[in-house]
Amino acid sequence: MKVFSRILLTGGGTAGHVNPALAIGRAIGDDRSTYLFVGVRGRAEAVVVPKAGLPMNYVRASAFPGSRPSLSWLPFLFNLSVGTLKSIAIVTRFSPDIIVGTGGFASAPVMLAAALLRRLGLCRAGLYVHEQNAAPGRLNLLVGRLADRVFLSFPDTLAAFPVNGVLSGYPVRRQIQTVDHDTARASLDFAVPAGRLVVFAFGGSQGARTINRAMVDALGSLLPYKDRVFIIHGTGLADSGGSYDAGRDTAARLDARYSEAERRAIETFYVARPFFHDIERVYGVTGLAVVRGGAGTLNELASLGLPAIVIPKVNLPGEHQVMNARALERAGGAIVLYEETRLEDGRAVEELDGRVLASAIVHLLDDAPRLSAMSLASRQFLQHDAIEVIRTTLQEEDAGKVVSGAQAGAIAGVPPLLSPAALLPRLERAWAAHRSSYRVEIEIPARGDRTYYVSRATSLLSDGRWELRNLGVKLVGLLQARDKLPLVLALFRDRRPAAWYKRLLGGDFEQVGFIRRNAVTAIGRLAVVTPDVEAALLVGISDPYYEVRSETARVVAVLEGGLSQAGRSALVAGLVTLLTDRWLEVVAASADTLGRIGGEHDARPVLLALESHRYWVVRAAALRGLASLVERGCAGDLAELEHHLRRFVLTATDFRPEFAIRTSYARVIDAIQTRRGSTS
């Protein structure tokens, strides 16, 4: 078996890249091999690698500053260039047999140096890349094409590397072997009662605030099931430098939320520890895991066949945790819950509602067949002995055999998730095309996607920038997220004034005119009428910005079927006041709506009063309103109405042109369509 004697490893910047590099390195070499790990000072690899006993060289690199050119590109490019130059020296001096990179910005200098040297013919080493996530990282995308092989953890990634991608899986830590259930139970320092579903929740060595808080909140809802579950909660070590002290925060929350009696009941099915030294013993008793979406974690669970509830961290580059979670969910091995962002004391905080987590656990509790199906699915999805695959591939490469790229069959990749900004035009076009028959389920069939998009849109609602809040409001309406209506109403009711200099130039509130207008539109699209909605519409009628008033008038007509009696009269009275508005758009919209919801005594007289309004647009709207009244049979004496109508001023300053040639063109096309339609 081929063993490499000089092995250069690189990867890091963030923690998830280092362990796979070490695992692969150990697998392809032996005791006599010489290793070198290249990383960035002060990052995860600087801590982990020396502890593992490998020699380490440091280069300069910094994280990618974002795709739009800005000032932060200068230090980035400087660091990258200096790092690459130093890497060229390192590679030349070390002259490795093989170079393995696992991604992350710390590996950029070495990978670029290696690619360059190979191109110049100065380096003969094989260049290999390992990608841990379903959605390939930016660096790996760039360098992967230059590498000999790219080893992938998820089948979904094959689409990104059609030529040189090889599905290997994720090289899990050697120590994670399946531990026998009884041995495991005996070795734990707390008692795990028999016959219960053991749920193990953890968020990495430093804990995950969302998971910890959600878990504590869920305990209340799980009390009725205290004889059927047992929860092991790994809260995480206190982060000495950071602001989140997992243990203390969790304990405090527990004390605050639950009474003395409740806590005693909770203790019968819940135990919390900051850290588990031999995590595989806990895995041995676990039936269901609650985790983040990191590639390493998911792969570990899959290799053990553990079903999981995944709560991915959102807003990471490439949304890689979300993509990993979705990939596993699609294969049936996991359930994904999305955290949402909201403002707490002015800071954006992610959270997951404990009741959502509790209900997900309870559903699985009652559904044992589902649990075992999930277990099987996840084992099948990610069960590869990555180390073996990698070794075999390298051997075959060495022997000159060409390993084909798209292995493991052509598995269709997960359709990419759109950013909120990209999703908006799609949904708006669909809305414009279908109007009343629009259903978000048709536009976005996958329920998991819809949940994801709704959580993103909701997070946008509390962003500091108004453009993003605006985007969030539009999306909430288009996604028909009816349970988020209170948030939209709260946004609409927020009347905090804008900065004084903005107010001088025409601004009014922090929630700018566009946001309020789009909030009203969203209320119309959500099509739910409650007393709160009616109150909001009344507020909208007296809003300072004209577009809000006209949009409110329009939406009242849309929602008219659900209005209460009292609400209807109040709104009609309000709309009548709008008829003397300064802005003609508002008057016209009110006239239209009054025709749809008013009657003989309140709407008819005011509409007739518009007979000699300055603007023909308004007069036309009044006539449309009167037509609606007549059609609904609420117009009273028709002969009298006709008499009044004669006084309407009908001269106008605009017209709709008809181009005879275009009409004839349309007629021919229509005729062709009909002909084609009837003969087919």
């Binding site: 025409g506 946001i515 577009e547 003609l584 605009d654 042109p657 181009f659 275009r662």
Partner: protein, 368 residues
């Protein structure tokens, strides 16, 4: 050209003394106007059909007003023909030694080329919005403005040395100041701002061309007066020898403009496109500078300024910063349409406004 021809002949043949008429600016101006008009009217139909055959038509412009949908499929780039005809008429009728004329022609052609590139980019992208990028357009215009300014400051400047860097304001007899450092930056900014203002105005059939023709004619009158020793003294305007030649250019421009209007009136058979509007903008800017009436342009070209200002205020201050609309719509002509005026009515009302502004500008000659 004819001027030179006339020179040659007159010297040789007494009998052709009628050609002495060609010495007169007014004769040549009228000649240029007629030539430009006839050339435009004759060439334009062929050009329109050529554009139809090549499919070089307007991509749908979604301005949100119903009549806009009827504009899809109308050929663009009529400005190219206009510019060409003005060039031809000038080459025929202008005195080829006049540096003023060459300056305006060069500026017009440069801006026209920028506009042409933008039009072609929009056509290739099949979208009315995504043509050449804003920064690129501004950079190219800036380059022209910079060259122009450099030339004004150089020894080849057409102005007499005393007047090279003077800055005049309407109603005031004497120059406000005379300093290259103050004057040249003003000119630079001016050329760039005006260059784009006409572009914004070109949104309805016939809207941009008539005010432009009026503005150019008024500037031609100024040029005529300033080039004439007696009249410039009488009206207290600076004497710039040779600038009178510009009236021939202005006349040619007006002629070509009217020829264009023949086809552009509602419903339009052809649009001027960015080629035309940028060319006009460049022309107006350079003309204003050459007759030292930069500030007067705020009055004379008030329509263009109003359109540009409303558009920028609505977009930059309202929509992008405050998060609300300040007017119903921008630019000015869309606002008028939104309140229920038909396109033709808007166009004619704005023509009336620009006529009033032009007459007011002429009045400033006397009111000093």
């Amino acid at each position: 050209m004819i001027h030179l021809f006339g020179d040659l002949l007159e010297g040789g043949f007494r009998a052709w003394s009628i050609l002495r008429l060609l010495d007169y600016l007014s004769v040549r101006a009228i000649g240029a106007a007629m030539t430009a008009f006839i050339l435009t009217v004759v060439i334009m139909p062929r050009f329109i059909w050529y554009l139809h055959r090549r499919g070089l038509v307007d991509q749908t412009r979604n301005t949100g007003v119903s009549s806009a949908f009827d504009k899809a499929g109308t050929p663009v780039m009529g400005g190219a023909v206009m510019v060409g005809c003005v060039l031809a008429a000038c080459l025929l009728w202008c005195d080829p030694t006049s540096r003023y004329v060459w300056a305006v022609l060069a500026g017009m052609v440069w801006f026209a080329l920028i506009g042409l590139m933008d039009d072609l980019a929009k056509w290739r992208a099949r979208s009315g919005n995504r043509g050449m990028s804003e920064p690129r357009k501004l950079a190219l215009q800036g380059a022209c403005a910079a060259l122009f300014v450099a030339w004004l400051a150089s020894p080849w400047t057409p102005f007499p040395p005393r007047e090279a860097a003077t800055f005049y304001v309407p109603f005031v007899k004497h120059a406000l100041f005379s300093s290259p450092f103050g004057y040249l930056p003003i000119v630079l900014l001016f050329v760039m701002l005006v260059g784009n203002a006409v572009n914004i105005t070109d949104g309805l059939d016939g809207l941009a061309i008539v005010p432009s023709a009026l503005a150019v004619s008024v500037l031609g009158v100024f040029a005529y007066i300033m080039g004439n020793a007696i009249w410039s003294h009488y009206f207290f305007l600076p004497l710039l020898p040779g600038v009178g030649e510009l009236i021939v250019f202005c006349a040619a421009f007006a002629g070509a403009g009217i020829g264009f209007l023949w086809f552009n009136a509602y419903p339009a058979q052809i649009f001027m496109g960015d080629a035309g509007s940028l060319a006009i903008g460049g022309c107006l800017a350079i003309l204003s500078v050459l007759v030292k009436q930069e500030v007067l342009f705020l009055l004379l070209g008030g329509l263009f300024i109003a359109e540009a200002v409303t558009s920028q205020v609505q977009d930059k201050i309202g929509i992008k910063w405050l998060g609300r609309r300040l007017f119903y719509r921008a630019p000015l002509h869309h606002q008028m349409q939104h309140t229920g005026l038909a396109e033709t009515k808007v166009v004619i009302r704005l023509w009336i406004v620009s006529l009033i502004l032009a007459l007011a500008s002429i009045a400033t000659i006397k009111l000093r």
